[in-house]
Symmetry: C2
Subunit: 320 residues, 2 copies
Amino acid sequence: MPRIKILIPNSIDLHLTADADVVVYDIDDAIPAEHRDADMLVVWHNSAERLRDAARHLPRLRVVQALASGTDAVLAAGFADDVRICSGRSLHDGPVAEHALALILSTIRRLDTLHDAQHDHRWDEDFIEAQGAAASQALYTLAGSRVTIWGFGSIASTLAPILQLLGAHVEGIARSAGDRAGFTVHADTDAAAVLADTDVLVAILPATPETTGLLDASTFGSLKRGAVFVNVGRGATVDEDALREALESGRLRAAAIDVTRTEPLPADDPLWDAPGLVITPHVAGNRPVGSSALIDDNLRRLAAGDELRNQVHPSSAARA
Amino acid sequence: MPRIKILIPNSIDLHLTADADVVVYDIDDAIPAEHRDADMLVVWHNSAERLRDAARHLPRLRVVQALASGTDAVLAAGFADDVRICSGRSLHDGPVAEHALALILSTIRRLDTLHDAQHDHRWDEDFIEAQGAAASQALYTLAGSRVTIWGFGSIASTLAPILQLLGAHVEGIARSAGDRAGFTVHADTDAAAVLADTDVLVAILPATPETTGLLDASTFGSLKRGAVFVNVGRGATVDEDALREALESGRLRAAAIDVTRTEPLPADDPLWDAPGLVITPHVAGNRPVGSSALIDDNLRRLAAGDELRNQVHPSSAARA
């Protein structure tokens, strides 16, 4: 059996130990002619155009290993249907959970408004009063709050126990109901009832045909009045006009999103100035942790004919 | 034995169940003449002047129960030396730990600079590059970082396990070395060596004569270059000129403080504009949790002649 030839991108440092022909390629150029016989392609920060180009010019390709958590761009690139596509989702559990927590706490404690007050050299007495008042103090802490995570996969399983340590009651919404990692997860058909009791909604949904625009006016309208919303999944899952309107009407108290429908978000997009909205530029999971080990593992599995890790296409098992 | 008479402030809702004469007083007025025979005084948000007034006019006072975590203002008010003073420290463990975490994550992930970018409608590509670069990506996450908590009491014991879940290696500094809640705590005489390896220094120190100005140019100079600093203890523990210089020189990468030497911080204080500094207006622990239960417990202990909870004066046992 010939050795596996794997192309790894120049956009990340990788140190592979599995037995294979390893070639580094430039993600900004076409794959060189002499390497178009590769069996496996690792992608990280490749443009849509470069992905489409690779899909056309690697006839012997058997596996695309993405290092990103979401594989929507790879799935859209036009690889042959028998090319297996694996995600890097497990590599981002820690970093994305950490960023989600940063956004949740910043939103709950309104670090954004305090930052504006600091800019004005203002010790914010209104904030101090609201946070201390019996009627509103519960809004400023996770202790006793109800957090719902929509999209309950491995990132949620990392995040939920931390929120629980902070005193939050955590449940989930996913395609199917059940118990995941000790947390109650409701079927998305029951979402409205769950949202009515939700103080903090955290979205960690992949971009798929089913999730496109899933979080819409009806979602925000179902939420408890004054809830906060955080999105560290994909921008395509949110109706951004509905999000802006929910913030403008006060239906949502505040929100924080790391992802937008169009990235980078154009400078003239009205989302930038939506009241109480924090936007970070898709930086939650910008550092895959353990990439080399995942690639090595999948190289060995490919050589042995075993099932691959994180395979998302062709789909074999139910996914969160 | 006559019933205990307790004065409770109008600045917080309390629901006591212990057997006592309970009188609500206005924290902005002098204690009415007919209530100057009180045995116990509960204070919350009282001004220094009102505290001094109470210290002069309550001759039968036996206990002052503060609901704040720090009792420096009460200790300075001039109560007779045999009046026992109890803190509300346990009431703030959760809220202060939560705020500390919010400030740590905001500082590590530079939500402040991203907020400024959002204000300019700018998708911050420089940030994205720095966060993804091999040389600097470790700065943007708690995973693998070394966090040192200076002042390792009950708030630190609440905070440390959460930081650990996020992948940080947590140790402490306190007056005496030892193991607290499963974490290694070093004596403050060894601080310099500990700081040299510290990525994130979190100060949770009370204001006492020994801690005044303790965190100074030498402290910041001992820290690993590019470390971040977070203070949720007391402003008096920090030399603010040294903090500003450490930020201006780049010795500190960023910092976040919830407390300042003078509160409110005057509008013309140069600290407001120190580079990379986030200031919040002493809102970490603005909501004591479980106040009524603590007061009830200490009322019963007072009646029974038992040791009081959270007693800080006269000092009986070693404190963190």
